[in-house]
Amino acid sequence: MGEPIRSIIILIAVLVGVLAIAAGLIWLERRMLGLWQDRYGPNRAGPFGSLQVAADMIKIFTKEDWIPPFADKPVFVIAPAIIVVTTLLSFAIIPFAPGIEIVNLNIGLLFFLAMSSLSVYSVALAGWASDNKYSLLGGLRAAAQMLGYEVFMGLSLVGVVMLAGSFSLREIVEAQRKVWFVIPQFLGFVIFLIAGLAETRRIPFDLPEAENELVAGYHTEYSGMKFGMFFVGEYIGVTLISALIATLFFGGWLGPLLPPLLWMMIKTFFFICGFILVRASLPRLRYDQLLSFGWKLMLPLSLLNIVVTGAIILAAS
């Protein structure tokens, strides 16, 4: 089998796999929330409600796809696509198992940060193009929140890069053969987890779409599959952050007995469930709390993490 054919097969497999997982998460999340909040969740369509996703898909595809006459049409249409494209592109650099990855960039981690910084546009532009007060407020909140949390998301990963000596995710996994980076970089892990929650705009950081004050925030005017793109984009984002946490801090595909790909899946699903548990149990923050928490607490902590890690590496060498 030629090298290009192999890459194309991996590419298609990753694309289909990620989209299937993201769609499945819609069902998984609602069932888990039901379990943790002592209620049923969707249980009618198919066994254990597992066909709920299919029912939702049929509904969302056949709904009227309406563009408000006052909206800025081209931007309104592009905005939902941006989030799906940028989050899907980030999967290109994740090594799922030895040899199963789309591309091994030597700037892999920077590529992820670049894509996550571009996903801000999706939400900000959606809010602006809708030409609606609530949407605009949601878009503004999203822009401020994601700009702030992106800064220390990048900084929290510097410790990992210093320990591994590379931006390439494959080499970062290989560097964890002795000990997972969650132990020497525990602070970095916690900061990345919080920043990841904020980047995917999930509770407790879902201020841009706080429904009790902003109707539905930036996607108030969206309907049909355009709304579906935001919805699926959020779940792809959750899968992406979980896969990255597993790769960067928990040894990626490394593990005893089971095949590497299975280890990667187990670790990723563990963190996805963690994300859902956070949503099930935490309330939403207030907006000023969110911003001051980010800039006044998390940013200094991530800088401290870099200084201490650097000092230890310097002392050890």
């Binding site: 940060l113 801000v120 900000a124 931006f167």
Partner: protein
């Protein structure tokens, strides 16, 4: 790689021209972001992946978001579009095109003089090499840049700091 280079160069030029001619500020900014993407791709094909990544993270991902943020806050209506179309009259193009034309002529002259661009094999510069260069021979430059940023930070803090009640927050009120 040559084909990719020329293709992204063409996209960069087209996108930048659209930036200048758009009447809607947000549309112009979006074209500018596309232009940054193509410049990043050019850096990548020239063997500088680190610079390409920074181009997207810093320019397209952070600075332009702030621009979009500010323009969203201004909430420019259709009136600003009319204003723009008044400003963008054919007369307004004469001066800038003349100046740019002189520069293009100079560029062509230089290219003819030196016999066109030499295509040397691209050497990829890894992030590690960039870091070693930055904190080795260019350490002073990095330090100076950080001083400059610190000054900006202190200034922003001064402007944004909350003053105790009773004191005027604007200097304009005193005069």
């Amino acid at each position: 790689m040559n084909g990719v280079f020329y293709l992204s160069a063409v996209v960069a030029i087209l996108a930048t021209m659209m930036v200048v001619t758009r009447l809607n500020a947000v549309h112009a900014l979006l074209y500018l972001i596309v232009s940054f993407f193509s410049v990043a791709l050019i850096f990548f094909t020239l063997g500088a992946p680190f610079v390409a990544a920074l181009e997207i993270i810093v320019y397209a991902g952070a600075i332009m978001v702030l621009f979009v943020f500010v323009i969203m806050m201004l909430n420019l209506g259709p009136s600003s579009k009319e204003q723009e179309s008044v400003w963008l009259k054919p007369n307004a193009w004469i001066g800038p095109s003349l100046l740019a034309g002189i520069l293009i002529l100079e560029l062509i002259y230089l290219m003819v003089l030196t016999g066109g661009p030499t295509t040397s094999p691209t050497v990829e510069i890894t992030p590690k090499q960039v870091g070693i260069a930055l904190f080795g021979p260019y350490a002073i430059g990095v330090e100076l840049a950080s001083m400059l940023l610190l000054a900006g930070l202190v200034g922003a803090y001064h402007l944004g700091a909350r003053r105790p009640r009773g004191l005027s927050s604007r200097t304009g009120d005193k005069s």
